[in-house]
Amino acid sequence: MTLSAELEARFDKLLKSYPPGRQRSAMIPMLLYAQDELGSVTPELVEEVARRVGVEPLQVEEVMSYYSMLHRKPLGRYHVQICTNISCLLTGGEELWQHACKKLGIGHKEVTADGQVSLEEVECIGACSWAPALQVNYAFHHQMTPEKLDRLLDSLRKAQ
């Protein structure tokens, strides 16, 4: 399959980052970086990564099913991940989660009909002291409130 120039460069660098004969180490980073570009881990990508690191496609499938960030189905263009773990729970994370579900009309790991926004309830994302927290794709949003969430979701819609 053809990959973008950036991804090719990334893959090259990754394959050179591990000791000789250990190219399999690059598998998980390759899948994640490629998923960021393609939107999901497609069957073609599984084949491609397997070929490049020198394992069977089935071995890639086996590994990817372990990691919660790797997924076969595309998510929304903006993937909103709301933490409800303990520090966030204590500061309103659960209410934030309910609010987001209601506002978007979707639930855990679901995508809006227009494919723009998806939701996921996630475990601690390392923002506990600035809770409740969420991530839109990789960007952190700290000390959220339902009002701030409304503004954020509206701005995502406008950015389309």
Binding site: S17, Y18, P19, R22, R24, S25, A26, M27, I28, P29, L31, L32, Y33, V53, V55, E62, V63, Y66, Y67, S68, M69, L70, Q81, T84, N85, I86, S87, L89, L90, T91, E123, C124, I125, G126, A127, C128, S129, W130, A131, Q135, Y138, A139, F140, H142
Partner: protein, 437 residues
């Protein structure tokens, strides 16, 4: 970037560059004693470096608190195999958000710590295993690494010393269990994060089946200060058997949540009142998690006269852990807290061993039923028994991490379980809703 105001009680050793302009740049680092320790270490023997780390009483900051110098001394330096330095930047323990700041604000300090560890055990390559969600930090670390290469602090013949070292970032992809050292090493090899049997420990058989030093980000970040100013100076900041400072993440019902660098042995109540500005809304303290959700929970009474150090926490049958302090006020429902914590472990159990895989899910279901008002009196003891039976009987410490908070909550907040019996709606939630309305 800083996400909270510093506190006057802080002792800034690892965070001394936080807040400086361009604190992440090599220029700033070099202008503020950067790489001085590494230059000094180049003149020392490996034994001297390890001895200095031992004198510093630096203990692992990832959770278990194992003495760092001792761990380094286990690496067979004369083994013909290559040796590796692995940085645990998986930071996923609920309540913990400090490694993030260390990498964001001072990435070169981490690089220098890794280089010194490399000198100490004759390693020439290192991997920083960063959780996948921390993409911006991977970018920051990659930039810092590139900068260090271009200025001769990484790569071949570093500063003309004949010492060479290559450093790489490696991304995880969503799995708490990959913070456990042996699961991390499996993940680094491109496999599922299923832990390895020990012994052998990573010091002998680690990354790529070679001798490996594996420490937490904060542990490595302490090393430059230890070598620069001497192990004794670092040790003197803390208490006997636990040297230096600890980055402490205050979260939950506290007025000034944030990450603060406090000397080990800092009094818990002073930390809550003066560093954290007291409990939110003038409420009373109900429960206290000292270092991430894996630690047994303490009651307010147990926090009186308690200090933030490994041994003091061990005397209270809990742990200093990762530094993730979670504060819960008088309106918190402890059944709900126990449920949320168990949901996490049930979700993150890798499924390899039965006591953890089945135990976490079973307890989660019982707690859920309880919180929904459908619990039976016999369930309370059952929850405690299940946790006790899981404790010490799992393949890796995740099973213990799930059991410990549960056992402590059942034991210390038994009456709150009783309050949920007979279909009664959660009495604590109601109090909170009244307050928030």
């Amino acid at each position: 970037m800083l996400y909270n105001e510093p506190s006057p009680h802080e002792v800034k050793v690892l965070t001394r560059r936080f807040g400086l302009e361009n604190s992440a740049s090599l220029d700033t680092y070099l202008a503020t004693d950067g790489f001085k320790a590494f230059k000094k270490a180049l003149e020392m023997t490996p034994e001297q470096i390890i001895e200095e780390v031992k004198i510093s009483n630096l203990r692992g900051r990832g959770g278990a608190g194992f003495p760092a110098g001792l761990k380094w001394s286990f690496v067979p330096r004369n083994s013909p195999k290559p040796k590796y330095i692995v940085v645990n930047a998986d930071e996923s323990e609920p309540g913990t958000c400090k490694d993030r700041l260390l990498m964001e604000n001072d990435p070169h300090q981490l690089i220098e710590g890794v280089l010194i560890a490399g000198l100490a055990v004759d390693a020439h390559a290192g991997y920083i295993y960063i959780r996948g969600e921390y993409r911006y930090l991977i970018e920051i670390m990659d930039r810092a690494i590139a900068e260090a290469y271009s200025c001769g602090y990484l790569g071949k013949n570093i500063l003309g010393s004949n010492f060479h070292f290559d450093l790489y970032t490696h991304t995880g992809a969503g799995a708490y269990e990959c913070g456990e050292e042996s699961a991390l090493l499996e993940s680094l090899e491109g496999k599922r994060g299923v832990p390895r049997i020990r012994p052998p420990f990573p010091a002998v058989v680690g990354a790529f089946q070679c001798p490996t030093v594996l420490n937490n980000v904060e542990t490595y970040c302490a090393v430059p200060a230890i070598i620069r100013d001497g192990g004794a100076a670092f040790a003197a900041l803390g208490v006997p058997k636990a040297g230096g400072t600890k980055l402490t993440c205050l979260s939950g019902h506290i007025n000034k949540p944030g990450v603060y660098e406090l000397p080990l042995g800092f009094p818990v109540m002073k930390m809550i009142e003066e560093v954290g500005g007291g409990i939110r809304g003038g409420k009373k303290l109900k429960a206290f998690i000292p270092g991430g959700s894996s630690c047994p929970v303490l009651t307010a009474e147990e926090c009186q006269d308690l200090t933030m150090d490994y041994d003091a926490m061990a005397r209270k049958k809990t742990m200093l852990g990762s530094g993730g302090v979670v504060i819960m006020d008088e309106d918190t429902c402890m059944v709900r807290a126990a449920l949320r914590i168990m949901r996490f472990y049930a979700h993150e159990s890798c499924g390899w061993c039965i006591p953890c895989r089945e135990g976490t899910t079973w307890i989660r279901k019982l707690l859920q039923r309880f919180h929904d008002g459908m619990g039976q009196r016999s369930d309370i003891a059952l929850i405690g028994d299940l946790a006790k039976n899981m404790f010490g009987r799992t393949f890796c410490p995740l099973g213990d991490a799930a059991a410990m908070p549960t056992m402590s909550i059942v034991e210390k907040f038994y009456h709150e379980f009783e309050d949920h019996l007979d279909g009664k709606p959660c009495p604590y939630e109601k109090a909170r809703q009244l307050v928030m309305a």
